[in-house]
């Protein structure tokens, strides 16, 4: 199969190739962790969760749990042989709460039993008594109480206060932005199998095998080298398995270590939603200063986010909110303040966009309000303030060098007939009282790189076998985003072999060590380059050998390997090299160049480049009920030179719909005791097929080409499209504003549920009438 002597190899780069696992996805043959044949003696785990949001545990009697049928072991803090801490860095996230519980749903113990029903039944038998402690459930309450995970941060560009004070117009407002449950379809799951001595092999559905390995070693009190973490694929991640998967893997590891038996944990959906973190909800105050034409003079933002009971990744997430408070606009002068509140709720975590979406919501809301105050079309205000039009310096001091966003927005506006539709919407609204329509076109500029600079590194392992087949391994994880196929395309292209010659294998910490999470949209950028580096190393050795042996450097072509006037099949060529004792295996490495950031001053070049896109959304609302519908969406998105347009289109559409859900139907409701009331799909509503707009036009921007030498000049695509959905929120705001003739700015918060829309409609009616 790898012998391509006869057939010409088809180009694979930049081609719309399907997901490598698709035939196994559709046939049910793709194995997720719960599908792996269960090893003999497997124990099933169930965690016992706190029933209080903040309380001293005055009694924890597990005797009935231990005595329950089928129970083999009960894990408590006393059983933790290493440290009772699963936090990524802050040391504030216990595997099991000890003495004090910090959120409702926090694990107290874990049962290991012969079957899952027995484990679940036993876990319910714990006798726990609590003494309630004061509750801080919201960012607002925590802010008032001075409860934070770290000191508030400030990012400064120029003198924003003075600029705003001197501006002809000032506009200000407040916005609440709700959180979001990841709702990966595959819940948290891990399987641990003990080996010899301290050895442990753990399969877990995680975006971060390396950190899982390190934390498991920390919890167990063993060397990193004793723990191997493996993940073939996840049934969705979206950031929810970057750190939040570790707790469950650690329980499986601990149970396996204690009992010397294999142990599996798979969370019930309700437990998963109660016990794992979500997107941060934000309270936002904003003020803009503008001139009469809507050009910005300065902007101030004050963010307060609900981080939950521990730090988790909240430092970097809130930093990214600050980095994106400018979105695509030159703010001229800016003061961006960020409060990171500690609350008695589940620890909020990474979620596609990583704080960026909340930051962008702030400026997009502010510009909508500015346009309304100035009586201008919001698109004109946006266009007038774009990087490349109004300036090029970001609030963190990075220069925007490839400000292509104006070109994209204007192309989209022309392509989707924005102006004509604006007129039509106005006319329609003038004729209709009951239903109102709204329209908005918003940009996305998203910074690409981990803002924690050292994380921007990756490794890969490539073996070429003597039959010409290639084993590809890299540090990135596959969660559906198509990372593996993209990296395989890079490798196949490097050797000019058919894609089928490249064998994609599961991510393992014993093959590629010390990797970063597959996150920050960086998967292809980092791992693609690392894999290419491995290929280039092997090719360099082959070239040296060919030069010495044949007197010519080889050329890897679609017709085979050309050496001088001769052509060899790839198989033949590498087999010759093997016989000549040439190493056909290499570990590749990549680190993103040219980036640096000083977090003490919030200045530097945190991003290697920016990804861009724009979306135009049209909506209709029912002013009697607040029901709403997205009637048309047009998207133009920049992925550089796409490595794989089919995969990239999938990311764009999926990201948009996920963002639309965040801003419309997906509402997290905690009650006054801190209990999450929307803990299952019966009550937490992600979009269905019916929510997909009937008119939905998506295009990859044909002008895309990364200015930086990224992998084949492509751009990251995982997160940026989510923020295209802000256009839906702006369009809904526009529709609500039409109720009052665009005289009063709607106080519409996110998610824009029917209830919030109706309240905003009533409020606008009242204020416009005054």
């Amino acid at each position: 199969m790898a012998d391509s002597g006869a057939a010409r190899v088809l180009p694979v780069l930049h081609a719309p190739i399907g997901h490598d696992s698709a035939p196994r996805h559709v046939s049910g043959e793709a194995l997720y962790i719960d599908d792996i044949p269960e090893p003999p003696g497997l124990l099933h785990l169930c965690a016992g969760l706190s029933e209080r949001a903040h309380a001293r545990v005055t009694r924890l009697d597990l005797s009935a749990v231990r005595a329950a049928p089928g129970v083999v072991a009960v894990l408590t803090p006393a059983d933790v042989s290493g440290r009772n801490d699963i936090s990524p860095f802050a040391g504030d996230d216990p595997l099991f709460a000890e003495g004090e519980v910090m959120f409702l749903g926090q694990p107290l113990f874990c049962v290991a039993a012969e079957t899952l029903p027995k484990a679940r039944a036993a876990a319910a038998l714990a006798a726990v008594e609590y003494e309630d402690l004061p509750l801080l459930l919201t960012a607002e309450a925590a802010l008032a109480a001075g409860s934070f995970i770290e000191p508030s941060q400030t990012m400064i560009l120029g003198d924003a206060r003075a600029a705003i004070a001197a501006a002809p117009h000032t506009v200000s407002g407040h916005l609440q932005v709700g959180g979001q449950e990841h709702f990966y379809l595959e819940g948290q799951v891990a399987l641990a199998i003990p080996g010899e001595g301290a050895d442990l092999h753990v399969w877990t559905s995680t975006q971060h095998p390396t950190e899982t390995q390190h934390i498991l070693a920390r919890v167990l009190g063993c060397a990193d080298a004793a723990v191997t973490v493996e993940v073939r694929r996840m049934g969705g991640g979206f950031g929810g398995k970057e750190t939040q998967s570790v707790q469950w893997a650690a329980m499986a590891a601990l149970a396996a270590r204690m009992t010397r038996r294999p142990a599996k944990i798979r969370l019930d959906r309700d437990d998963d939603m109660a016990a794992t973190g979500k997107r941060h909800d934000f309270e936002i105050n904003w003020t803009l200063g503008l001139d009469a034409d809507g050009r910005l003079r300065g902007a101030r933002f004050e963010f307060a986010s609900r981080c939950g009971f521990s730090a988790d990744l909240s430092h970097a997430i809130n930093d990214r909110a600050m980095f994106h408070a400018d979105n695509a606009y030159a703010l001229q002068a800016a003061e961006i303040v960020s409060h990171r509140t500690r609350t008695h709720t589940v620890s909020n975590t990474a979620f596609r966009g990583f704080g960026g979406p909340q930051g962008m919501m702030a400026i997009e809301r502010a510009l909508d309000a500015a346009a309304l105050a100035l009586g201008r079309d919001p698109l004109d205000v946006r266009l007038a303030n774009l990087y490349g039009v109004a300036g090029d310096t970001t609030p963190y001091g990075q220069t925007v060098e490839d400000a292509v966003i104006r070109e994209i927005m204007e192309a989209l506006a022309a392509g989707c007939d924005y102006r004509a539709r604006r007129t039509a919407v106005q006319a329609w609204n003038a004729d209709n009282d009951h239903l109102k329509r709204g329209l908005a076109l918003t940009p996305v500029k998203f910074g690409i790189s981990f803002t924690t600079t050292y994380l921007n590194q990756a490794g890969a392992l490539v073996h070429v076998y003597t039959d010409g087949s290639i084993h590809l391994n890299h540090g990135g994880t596959e969660m559906g985003q198509g990372l593996n196929i993209k990296v395989a395309q890079v490798v196949a292209d490097a050797f000019q072999v058919p894609l089928a010659a490249v064998r994609i294998t599961s991510t393992r910490t014993d093959k590629v060590p010390n990797t970063s999470a597959t996150a920050a949209s960086s998967g292809s950028d980092l791992n693609g380059m690392a894999a290419l580096d491995a290929c280039e190393q092997i090719k360099a050795r082959l070239a040296d050998w060919a030069q010495a042996n044949y007197g010519h450097a080889p050329r890897f072509t679609a017709d085979g390997v050309q050496v001088g006037a001769e052509f060899f099949s790839f198989r033949d060529f590498v087999n010759q090299a093997y016989l000549a004792r040439v190493s056909l295996s290499a570990a590749g490495f990549y680190k993103t160049p040219d980036i640096h950031y000083d977090r003490t001053t919030h200045k530097g070049r945190p991003f290697y480049y920016f990804a861009y896109g724009a979306a135009c959304s049209e909506v209709a609302i029912d002013t009697l009920t607040g029901e709403n519908k997205v009637t048309r969406v047009d998207i133009l998105h920049d992925v550089g030179r796409s490595l794989n347009p089919a995969i990239d289109l999938g990311q764009i559409e999926g990201g948009f719909i996920q963002g639309m859900g965040w801003l419309t139907t997906e509402e997290l409701v905690f009650d006054a005791t801190g209990r999450l009331r929307t803990h299952a799909p019966s009550t937490y509503k992600i979009p269905t097929a019916g929510d997909r707009p009937d008119a939905f036009n998506i295009a990859i921007w044909s002008g895309g080409e990364n200015r930086e030498p990224t992998i084949h000049r492509s751009k990251a695509v995982g997160e940026p499209p989510l923020m295209l959905a802000i256009s839906v929120f702006s369009a809904l705001t526009d529709a609500v504003a039409s109720v009052g003739g665009h005289k009063a700015m709607p106080n519409l918060d996110a998610p824009a549920t029917p209830e919030r829309i109706l309240a905003a409609v009533n409020d606008v009616r009242r204020r416009a009438g005054e």
Binding site: H19, A22, P23, H25, V26, S27, G28, L31, P37, F183, Y184, L185, E186, R233, G235, G236, F238, D268, R269, D417, A420, R421, A424, V425, W428, N432, R437, M479, G480, E618, I621, D622, L624, T625, E627, N628, K629, R632, A646, I647, G650, E653, I657, V669, R677, A680, P681, S682, K685, I686, P687, T688, A689, D691, R692, D694, A695, P754, E755, L758
Partner: protein
């Protein structure tokens, strides 16, 4: 000697012993007993569709193919039916056309929901259902995907090819049992009688039994509340409870009639019912759940009661050989309490056709249009003659501890001119009818205001063709 459960798997007869755990779910049967792990658990409550499998059921001469949620389907409910899982279709290298279309159109990303979508599309194809975008959206509303945004899956649904499928009608006929099913498992019992009379006798003898219809509610007692059901009596195989009868001016819907099978008859009663059922649950829920089950369980947020109460529906209850009828609204006594004696069961509901000329409206308010539980549900039927209201039947779900009529609102309409002023007085009276609660679906204030506005909207719609937001298309221009 008790007979085993007999069903077809990939066309082959399979048996399950008569002593299996009667509330073992089909999902767990597949994953842990039959090692068919293609069917996934996403929520274990019938809301995500990752566990979708297809049931083939004899309906007269033909086989009816239904997508259902395996996670809340009890294994004994397979008796006499054909089961298809994603493994039944094809494997890598030899995919079924439905699977191939999903591959070709990039319908999978993470792949976890994918087998469920494949099975929903497969059932859609086997039923010969239309493949326009709206039909596919309706067929897939019970399948959640968090990756794709659905476009590629809808495209696959439109592009999917066909392959000859073996006719299983004869094989299904051969496993139709002559008598009911009795499962005994460590003192727990499961009965699936074949007729209403047998059912009535079993329930009379076992007044504490759990009555099982589609299981879309009872299933969750097991999967979510870990309840152990001692005695379960399934009415799914009672042939004489599966009929929708035209009584001339009314329809009688038997206790075993599933939403999907009542859909056409109810839509014929009034198109508003058609739209309500389109949005009620996902298709997998409508393929199992029953109209009468939605009434019998007494939920304050079931969607059928307010709509049916508005028609003036009556409920038929049966105990042994004795039947009684009562107005549907009278069945609901208080939260969790219904007018149903031990050993008694809901045998049917009788819904009159709204008379021509009446203002008849059903409105369902929820955060998401499809497959969501209502925050408020309205059923409204107002008779108007000569511009004057003759009588009004207005019922709400989600506004009280039970589905309930809005007596003060109705009284404020009766005998008065059907005008904006009258309607304003009537909606003002709703505050006397209801003191709704605040919960995760909506606040009390929103519920009350939305209830008022739904009545106002019904009035507006009766005056001229007010557009509905769900029907809105992109604005016309140029």
């Amino acid at each position: 000697m008790a007979r085993p459960i007999r069903f077809l798997l990939d066309g082959e007869v399979r048996e399950l012993a008569a002593d299996i755990d009667p509330t073992l779910t089909v999902l767990n049967l597949l994953r842990y007993h039959l090692r068919r792990t293609g069917t996934k658990e996403g929520c274990a409550e019938g809301d995500c569709g990752a566990c979708t499998v297809v049931l083939g059921e004899l309906a007269g001469e033909r086989v009816r193919f239904r997508a259902v949620n395996a996670c809340i389907l009890f294994a004994p409910m397979l008796d006499g039916r054909a089961l298809y899982t994603v493994e039944s279709l094809g494997r890598e290298g030899a995919l079924h056309p439905v699977q191939q279309a999903m591959v070709d159109l990039h319908g999978s990303q993470c792949g976890f929901c994918t087998p469920g979508f494949v099975m929903s599309l497969y059932a859609h194809q086997r039923e010969g259902a239309p493949t326009d975008a709206q039909s596919l959206k309706d067929a897939l509303a019970g399948n959640l995907c968090r990756c794709t945004g659905y476009g590629p899956i809808l495209a696959a649904g439109q592009a999917m090819g066909r392959t000859p499928e073996p006719d299983i009608a004869e094989a299904l006929g051969a496993i139709q049992p002559a008598e009911g099913l009795v499962i005994q498992h460590r003192g727990r019992r499961f009965f699936a009688p074949r007729s209403a009379a047998e059912l009535a006798a079993i329930l009379e003898a076992n007044p504490d039994a759990t009555v099982l219809a589609g299981g879309t509610d009872v299933g969750l007692w097991v999967t979510k509340q870990q309840r152990v059901l001692e005695t379960v009596v399934s009415l799914n195989d009672c042939a004489d409870l599966k009929a929708v009868e035209d009584l001339g001016g009314a329809i009688r819907i038997g206790a075993a009639v599933r939403y999907a099978d009542a859909h056409a008859a109810l839509a014929a009663l009034h198109p508003e019912f058609g739209e309500l059922l389109r949005r009620l649950g996902g298709l997998q829920v409508r393929n199992l759940g029953t109209i009468c089950g939605n009434i019998a369980n007494g939920s304050p947020i079931g969607d059928m009661p307010p709509a049916l109460i508005a028609t003036g529906a009556t409920l038929v209850l049966r105990k042994g050989g004795a039947r009684r009828e009562l107005p549907l609204e009278a069945y609901f006594l208080a939260y969790g309490r219904q007018d149903r004696a031990p050993g008694e069961f809901v045998e049917a509901v009788i819904a009159p056709k709204p008379a021509a000329g009446r203002v008849f409206r059903i409105a369902k308010l929820s955060k998401r249009f499809d497959q969501d539980i209502s925050a408020v549900c309205l059923g409204l039927s107002v008779g108007v003659e000569g511009g004057r209201v003759t009588d009004a039947r207005i019922a709400f779900g989600g506004m009280a501890a039970t589905p309930k009529r809005a007596a003060a609102c109705e009284a404020a309409l009766a005998g008065r001119p059907w005008t904006r002023e009258t309607v304003e007085a009537a909606v003002a009276a709703l505050a006397g009818d209801f003191a709704p609660i605040t919960d995760m679906r909506a606040s009390a204030a929103y519920r009350l205001e939305a209830a008022r506005n739904l009545v106002r909207r019904a009035f507006l719609e009766s005056q001229d063709a007010a557009p509905r937001v769900l029907d809105a298309e992109a604005v016309a221009y140029g």
